[in-house]
């Protein structure tokens, strides 16, 4: 599976986990702003992977930036997201290098 396809698949998976409200772009603000500016010039929609998937030294490296619901424990949702992503990658026959899950807002 390509990293882009895996990003879409994982985003869909994470979106179904109870307590997950939003997937923020894991890219820094400046990188996002540059993409938007470029897209404006090119008159094409700015696309950003909601989950960043790259090849790391020991396997797949995943970064997720979440907004979670206040009704669930943010720490528990964070662990849940990790477990789901880890299982999905291993089920795809790949190794995990690192999975970074960050909660940016509890709403």
């Amino acid at each position: 599976m390509t990293t882009s396809l895996m990003s879409d698949t994982l985003a869909e998976l994470v979106g179904t986990i109870p307590g997950v409200m939003t997937l923020y772009s894991p890219e820094p603000v400046i990188a996002r702003a540059a993409k938007v500016a470029l897209a404006t010039v090119l008159r094409s929609p700015a696309t950003t992977d909601r989950i960043q998937v790259t090849d790391g030294p020991a396997g797949v490296h995943v970064s997720v930036h979440l907004g979670v619901s206040r009704t669930q424990s943010a720490a528990a949702v964070c662990r849940d997201v990790y477990e789901h992503i880890s299982s999905a990658i291993r089920a795809d026959g790949q190794d995990v290098d690192r999975i970074v899950v960050k909660v940016g807002r509890v709403s």
Partner: protein, 206 residues
């Protein structure tokens, strides 16, 4: 930063530097976005947790003003702009992601965390949701980036005129600790709540 309309929770920001912005936006721009009903949609704001935290804080500030100021008082120029300017400054500073507060997991491949901005938003909201309270400065003292490290928490709050301060302070403390315990792995060994201001509406001052 100066406040131009305390009753509305609005702000007028002058001489803004990039460091004073929240993911590329000033508080003034975020307040305007709120005024427009968040239309037209701005993905830069909507996709930024820091901007969303600041917007939520502005909403609570407005709700506080709406509740504790009557229309006539709201139309009057504020007598002390420093009070609300300080609140807005705290809101701006605390909206930033800041440090990463780790969440424990036994797998070595897992790097799990909550941003310091999200943690401070939890604290602020836990207090603000108690009627007649607005949380001001929040200090997480200690290295929050180290799992299990003991943390001291200092919270300053403003209360509305007529509220019972001795009973509110423990309520704030309990609400904040409950939410921190529920959402994070932080080990809070001391939590101090200081009421730094009493908000007196115009009609009470007259």
């Amino acid at each position: 930063m100066k406040n131009s309309d305390a009753a509305d929770g609005g702000v007028e920001v002058s001489d803004t530097t990039p460091g004073e912005m929240i993911d590329g936006y000033t508080l003034d721009e975020l307040a305007d976005y709120l005024d427009r009903g968040q239309r037209p949609r701005d993905p830069g704001i909507d996709d930024s947790p820091a901007c969303q935290i600041a917007l939520a804080g502005l909403r609570r500030l407005r709700r506080f003003n709406d509740t504790f100021l009557d229309d006539e008082a709201a139309a009057e120029p504020p007598r002390d702009e420093s009070w609300i300017s300080a609140l807005l400054e705290n809101l701006r500073v605390d909206a930033h992601a800041g440090r990463s507060v780790p969440i424990a997991h036994p797998d070595p491949e897992a790097t799990l965390s909550v941003t310091e901005g999200a943690v401070k938003d939890l604290i602020r909201r836990a207090g603000d949701d108690i009627g007649g309270v607005l949380i001001g400065k929040i200090r997480l003292q200690g290295d929050v980036t180290v799992p299990g490290e003991p943390i001291d928490l200092d919270v300053e709050a403003t209360v509305a005129w007529g509220e019972n301060i001795p009973s509110l302070a423990p309520l704030i403390r309990t609400a904040v600790l409950r939410d921190l315990c529920h959402h994070t792995d932080l080990v809070v060994v001391a939590a101090d709540v200081t009421i730094t201001d009493v908000y007196v509406p115009e009609e009470e001052q007259a």
